[in-house]
């Protein structure tokens, strides 16, 4: 026998509200030998409450969903009254009627049974005398516990999420918490159905994302059973939704979880004072960072890329890195040009762009257009877009991104001196690229220190800068003087000082080359 003090198991909580069928299988009810005499097809109706009533006009006292218990003492002998009694219960949308057989009705009354059958109202008779109070106590305790459990779950989730928000936890942490309650994938999207964040068991999330395009495009958003959505919005503006994908519990509990999660997400965003774009940026950032790092195999990131709105079927991917680019600015340029791509700031402050082009499109021309437009729109005429060659295989995208990053690093700080084109590639960075790759090598480091010792120990940044420009300009004295705003005689004096300190003759090609390589290595180590 169940007692009221036991807490409900989670599995119990996730079942639908108590049904007529479930009430009839309770141990205390079975003692009354219940028999369903009408409406057997409707036994899965939920029972909201149990009500004992003998009044013939009980219908007016009900508000729907009640299981009504009666001995029929006021109905005996009047068939019209019996029929009307059943009809009034039906009109009031009672869940079921339970008639205790005894003095009033020794056997199931035929009229009531027929009317109940016609109305589809479950009618149950109890063959053994049975104290109704026990039944109401039993059922009501269960119903109250169920309600209490729902309130308590709601409260627990809310407390946990509020705690995370006040502790400044990121969006992902909030979603992980929601997923731990829902035990199914949780997905946050913007209005364009782009996936901004996910949580839940990885393989289950991937399954959802793999099919995302179909799911997202379903009109009316009904993706099937267990898909529970809650809108995200506030101050009259809707900006996204959160979805529990394939929630296996009952809809009411899922709804409750989704609503609590939505409230928390809205609060999180409001407190963050952030715009709608921030989550999108975070999503793009985590995707591109994961691609560059190579920690997660590219193949596993494909569903995420697709769900983030990047076209991936039969495409060519162009990895780009812009050193002093602002992600918002780059996104605007992509829109202007009608190019598909994702943009995000990488950990080192550079901005990565992954373009997705149709395979027949000319990647070089479109990259050049993009770079030219970035220069004209940003008002930074020296901005350099580092590009890797287009990749048609998704698996090669990480290597491409790293190549673009490497190129961007190699030309960092030297774009002004070199007067670089708007798009630079690996072949354009020559020796700088190689030095950049080797910059952490201890032998290269000691070589650089040895060669430049005379200047580095003097900490004379001005002489170092002059040397840098002189070598970068191909030992062009007039250009160097011009760039440093000094007269030619003044420049000669500085060059002599440099040669003196380093003990080299810069007119000798090999010595100059050696110093140049050392300087490139020195700069690479600083960068």
């Amino acid at each position: 026998m169940a007692t009221t003090s036991e807490p409900l198991e989670p599995s119990e909580l996730s079942e639908p509200a108590l049904s007529v069928r479930q009430v009839l299988t309770l141990e205390r009810v079975l003692a009354g030998e219940p028999e369903v005499v009408a409406g057997a097809g409707q036994l899965d109706r939920p029972v909201r409450w149990v009500h004992v009533a003998e009044a013939p006009d009980v219908g007016v006292m009900l508000s729907g969903g009640e299981m009504v218990l009666t001995t029929g003492v006021l109905l005996a002998g009047d068939e019209d009254k019996q029929a009307e009694y059943i009809r009034s219960l039906h009109r009031a949308e009672a869940a079921a009627v339970v008639l205790g057989l005894g003095r009033a009705f020794p056997a199931p009354p035929d009229v009531m049974r027929r009317v109940a059958e016609r109305c589809g109202l479950p009618m149950v008779v109890l063959h053994r005398p049975f104290p109704f109070a026990e039944l109401t106590e039993e059922v009501q305790c269960r119903l109250v516990r169920r309600k209490f459990a729902a309130v308590s779950l709601s409260e627990a989730v809310r407390t946990a999420l509020t705690g995370l928000i006040t502790a400044g936890a990121p969006l992902q942490r909030l979603l992980d918490e929601v997923a731990s309650h829902s035990a199914c994938p949780v997905v946050v999207t913007n209005l364009a159905h782009r996936v901004l964040a996910t949580a839940g068991e990885r393989s289950a999330v991937d399954d959802v994302l793999r099919d995302w395009e179909r799911i997202a495009r379903q009109a009316g958003g009904s993706a099937g059973d267990g898909w529970i959505r809650a809108e995200l919005g506030g101050r009259g503006e809707r900006w996204g939704q959160i979805m529990l994908c394939g929630y296996r519990g009952d809809t009411a509990t899922g709804r409750l979880l989704a609503d609590r999660a939505a409230e928390a997400l809205v609060l999180h965003r409001m407190l963050g004072g952030s715009s709608a774009h921030t989550w999108e940026e975070q999503s793009a950032q985590s995707l591109l960072t994961d691609l560059v790092s190579g920690v997660v195999p590219a193949r596993q990131l494909l569903p995420r890329a697709r769900a983030a709105g990047l076209p991936v079927n039969r495409r060519a991917f162009v990895p780009l890195v812009v050193r002093d680019g602002e992600p918002g600015q780059l996104e605007r340029v992509l829109r202007l040009l009608g190019l598909s791509g994702i943009v995000a700031e990488l950990a080192d402050g550079a901005t990565a762009v992954l373009l997705s082009l149709a395979r027949d499109q000319d990647a070089a021309v479109l990259t050049a257009n993009l770079a030219a437009r970035v220069r004209s729109e940003s008002g930074a005429p020296r901005t350099v877009v580092a590009a890797a060659d287009a990749r048609t295989a998704w698996d090669e995208v990480p290597a491409g991104l790293r190549e673009a990053q490497h190129v961007a690093d190699a030309v960092a700080d030297s774009s002004a001196a070199l007067d670089l084109p708007a798009v630079v590639r690996l072949k354009d960075v020559h020796l700088r690229g190689l030095i950049r790759l080797l910059r952490d090598d201890p032998q290269v480091q000691s070589f650089a220190e040895r060669e430049l010792d005379g200047l580095l120990s003097g900490a004379d940044e001005d002489l170092l800068a002059v040397l840098r420009t002189y070598l970068a300009s191909g030992r062009n004295k007039s250009r160097t003087a011009q760039l440093h705003h000094v007269s030619r005689p003044a420049l000669y004096r500085r060059l002599e000082a440099i040669q003196g300190r380093l003990g080299v003759d810069l007119d000798d090609f090999e010595q100059a080359a050696s110093v140049h390589i050392a300087l490139l290595a020195h700069d690479a180590q600083q960068g």
Partner: protein
């Protein structure tokens, strides 16, 4: 057998003057062509502000002859240079005092193919169009372009299913719907009516809306330009609701046959029963 074409739409904000507006659109055509787009449609009254927010005869000056006027000539040259079909929604002056809300269609070799004049002219707060335009009298032309059969249905027209159907009956494969429509008024219709028209008439629809709030009124033009296919699926994403954007998409026109083989709406329609629809 697929028959893929690359089509483009362009949404933008009013720049403040006609010449710079035209230049922005020229650049968009170049950008679209660089991507391999074969056809491009601009927004309604593309080189002007949406002046119908006010009733001021000063804006009659924006009207030009089609095709003799300078803007059509200019874009004919551009279409030829880029090898792209252009749909130019403009303010047309047939003669002084006879003005239309029109779209000119230019083929990829720069030749002028013809025009469609907006049939349904609204007259509501913020959209005082009867002040500026006569109702169109061009019927429902469909243009044989280098890229396929193209129809145009302008802005407010889209609320009337009859014109969509007439364009379908004339063989349109893509119908462009250049618009200028405001957030508060039509946001709830924007992704409903054109997809429904695409399904009902089994062709592609390209819907364009300008962006931003202009000096002439409070209309908040919400962009969200898109292509939708004959199954009401958006082709790629819907554009931004606030920013200038070029939308370039690959459309497989073979989908028309596929869908029409499945749903025989053209066979099963019953024109004989529709007489009441044409009663005055």
């Amino acid at each position: 057998m697929s028959r893929v074409i690359r089509a483009a739409l362009f949404q933008t904000a009013w720049t403040g003057d006609k010449e710079s507006m035209i230049q922005v659109h020229e650049q968009a055509a170049r950008d679209a062509a660089a991507q391999g787009a074969q056809v491009l449609c601009f927004q309604e009254l593309f080189y002007g502000p949406y002046f119908c927010q006010v009733q001021d005869k000063a804006f009659y000056e924006y009207a030009e002859q089609i095709p003799e006027g300078p803007t059509v000539r200019r874009f004919q040259a551009l279409a030829k240079e880029l090898g792209i079909v252009l749909v130019l929604p403009m303010y047309e002056e047939e003669q002084p005092g006879v003005l239309y809300n029109t779209a000119a269609v230019i083929d990829a070799d720069g030749s002028y193919l013809g025009k469609y004049r907006k049939t349904h002219i609204p007259q509501v707060q913020g959209f005082w169009e009867k002040f500026y335009f006569r109702p169109g009298n061009s019927g429902w032309p469909v243009f044989e372009t280098a890229v396929g059969k193209i129809g145009v249905y302008i802005c407010y027209d889209r609320h009337f299913p009859e014109g969509w159907r007439a364009l379908g009956l004339s063989g349109a494969e893509i119908v462009f719907n250049p618009s200028a429509t405001s957030r508060g008024l039509s946001r709830y219709l924007w992704q409903l009516e054109q997809p429904a028209a695409a399904v009902a008439n089994e062709y592609f629809v390209g819907a364009i809306n300008r962006v931003g709030v202009e000096d002439l009124g409070d209309n908040d033009f919400y962009g969200t330009t898109y292509f939708v296919d004959p199954e009401a699926q958006f082709v790629g994403e819907v554009a931004s609701d606030k920013e200038t954007e070029l939308v370039v998409r690959d459309l497989d026109l073979a989908k028309l046959r596929e869908v029409r083989d499945r749903w025989q709406f053209y066979r099963d329609r019953a024109p004989g029963a529709y007489t009441p629809l044409t009663a005055p």
